[in-house]
């Protein structure tokens, strides 16, 4: 999971080396926009720009497409909190809940069943991956608004994750010796 700008973060699934190029491109583009307009780049515009690049590789030059799927999460003043999913074809869509990577169909169907408009981030994350969960196997990150109105990106630490298990009734397997 990576922070693209103060108000946008992304999670990646696929070939990590391809993903790293992309994340850098996203970061540069976000800064370019802010340099030009002195405002944070609207989330959809950033996603659209990246997807245009992905699409280019499917049409020209005989190069292979990027082997990455992204989940972009961010906030802007136009549409508030947004989630976008994109794939190697360059297709993207806005979602209320989405999953990419291994077992993404299973993830999508669990989300479809259990998503409600008022669900919290920890509840959902733990539902989706509660089979063999330890705090070392899960990364949970959040994009949220502080009381002052600033957008913050926060990654939960291992300890705070461990505290979440009993809170949501997830039974933790016996602690592994690492």
């Amino acid at each position: 999971m990576h922070k693209i700008d103060d108000h946008v973060a992304c999670a990646v699934a696929g070939i990590m080396s391809d993903a790293n190029i992309f994340i850098n491109t996203a970061r540069v583009q976000a800064q370019r926009y802010t340099f030009m307009y002195q405002e944070p780049m609207p989330v959809e515009q950033l996603v659209q720009f990246l997807c245009d690049t992905k699409q280019w590789y499917t049409q020209f030059g005989g190069l292979r497409p990027f082997g990455v799927s992204f989940l972009f999460a961010g906030w802007d003043k136009n549409y508030g909190f947004q989630l976008y999913m994109s794939d190697p074809s360059g297709n993207y869509g806005g979602w209320k809940a989405a999953a990419v990577g291994a077992n993404n169909q299973a993830g999508q169907s669990i989300l479809r069943q259990d998503y409600k408009d008022d669900v919290t981030s920890d509840e959902l994350a733990l539902k989706v991956d509660s089979t063999s969960l330890t705090s070392k196997k899960l990364e949970l990150a959040e994009v949220f608004l502080t009381p002052l109105g600033n957008v913050k990106y926060h990654v939960h630490s291992h300890d705070s994750l461990t505290k979440l298990w009993p809170k949501h009734g997830v039974t933790q397997p016996a602690a592994e010796t690492s």
Binding site: F35, M36, Y37, Q38, E39, P42, E44, Q45, K77, N78
Partner: protein, 204 residues
């Protein structure tokens, strides 16, 4: 000799510009509109080299429109002002535009705002601003009489005071002015102040 000035009032911004197009000692026309409507809620009052003025303001306007078509949302006044400044700054060390701009706009969140952008890409958000020789008179008059949150009527009174000052004290004062306003209902022409109208010989 070009006079452009403007100010921010209560929920609106107003800009005035002279309307003479001059080349050396010849007045080409005295009803040249130098205040361009950038989009539904933005105005650019520009002064400077006539070719550059038209070229640059049209360039900004087309880019602002393109942004709106591409992204489905309009640029804020601040974003448009910063974009404009960026374009002037990029051209500055190669082939600069000789254009001074007062950009007035209304945004729902920010309210009415006025941006001073000069030909060497200075950008300031201001309550009142002016360019040209007329600025010596209009800025002083506005400094004396301006209050924040003026009504439209009070602002027009102040604009008229400035025009009167320019007409009486500037050696080659432009005879005609156009006044445009932008508020929550949009950007529009408010009034003309003409002391010389185009003379045409009557057809016999």
């Amino acid at each position: 000799m070009e006079c452009v000035f403007g100010l921010v009032g209560n929920g609106f911004a107003i800009v005035a510009a002279d309307t003479s197009a001059v080349h050396s000692i010849l007045v080409h026309k005295n009803n040249e509109d130098k205040i361009m409507v950038l989009d539904s809620h933005k105005l650019i009052a520009a002064s400077g080299e006539p070719g550059d003025r038209v070229q640059f303001t049209e360039y900004v306007q087309k880019n602002v429109s393109l942004y709106q078509f591409r992204n489905g949302i309009p640029l804020t006044t601040a974003a448009a002002a910063n974009f404009t400044r960026g374009e002037l700054a990029t051209a500055l060390r190669k082939n600069p535009y000789s254009v001074n701009i007062l950009m007035a706009g209304y945004d729902k969140e920010a309210g009415a705002s006025l941006y001073y952008i000069d030909y060497i890409a200075t950008l300031h958000k201001v309550d009142k601003g002016a360019f040209g020789y007329g600025s010596y008179f209009s800025l002083s008059t506005m400094d004396r009489h301006y209050r924040s949150d003026m009504s439209v009527e009070e602002a027009i009174e102040l604009v008229d005071k400035c025009i009167l000052e320019i007409r009486s004290r500037l050696v080659i004062a432009p005879p005609n002015f156009v006044i445009k306003i932008v508020d929550k209902d949009g950007a529009r022409e408010h009034a003309w102040r003409q002391s010389v109208q185009d003379v045409t010989t009557a057809s016999v």
